[in-house]
Amino acid sequence: MAPALLIRRRMIDPIFQTDNYQLARKLLDAAVLRHEAIATNVANAETPGFRRLDLSPDFATQLKSRIAAGNFAQTADSIRPQLSEDQTARSIRPDGNTVEIERELLMMNRNVVEHEFLSEIVSRNIKQLKLAITGRAM
């Protein structure tokens, strides 16, 4: 069994274990989650006392430290993006609501482009692999 495991790890997984590919997958999770935060912020734009949500800042720092340490591909599963209240948002209304609709819509546009970019990276890796295997662009 051991030689088969070794060969399996040498065959397909190294291609799917490259840092860029796994990083793009993780960031795709984050982009989808960030959209959920933006949707909640826009829906609660007039709720008194509502504080806007965003991705937790420790997700980005954890990602960076894991990449720098070089063991990202193996431990990617343990880092999960999470939502939390945005502590840096200032309240511009007397009732404590920190949502600014224009900012939310701008961030949403940026998020959509980021999502497309990440999808493109993942797509390209997969298509390249398919091309290498079959010799035809499937």
Binding site: I7, I126, I133
Partner: protein, 110 residues
Amino acid sequence: MNPIGSINVLQGSPLQRTDAPLPKIGLPQATPNISAPSEGFGTMLDGLVGTVESKQAAAQAATRRVLLGDSDQLHQSVIAMQEASVAFTMMVEVRNKLVESYQELMRMQV
């Protein structure tokens, strides 16, 4: 004229006889794959089958979670399905190449 005979003239020379046994060189033990090609490809195919199984199981699990509404990670389900399809394609191509080489071998005139 015997071409071999001209070589025999060199028998007495400091040069080694060409039919003397070669000294043993320590070859690295990675050669078993070359000495028994069917064995190496067999284990490779086993490994590929294992990979395909695990990737398809992951894809099915991700898709089922989306179908049941447990998760909204549509993109992970799509990516898992694509990875499973790539692994499967690789296995099919390896099998095709094996069959082709076998057929080529059979066609060779001994």
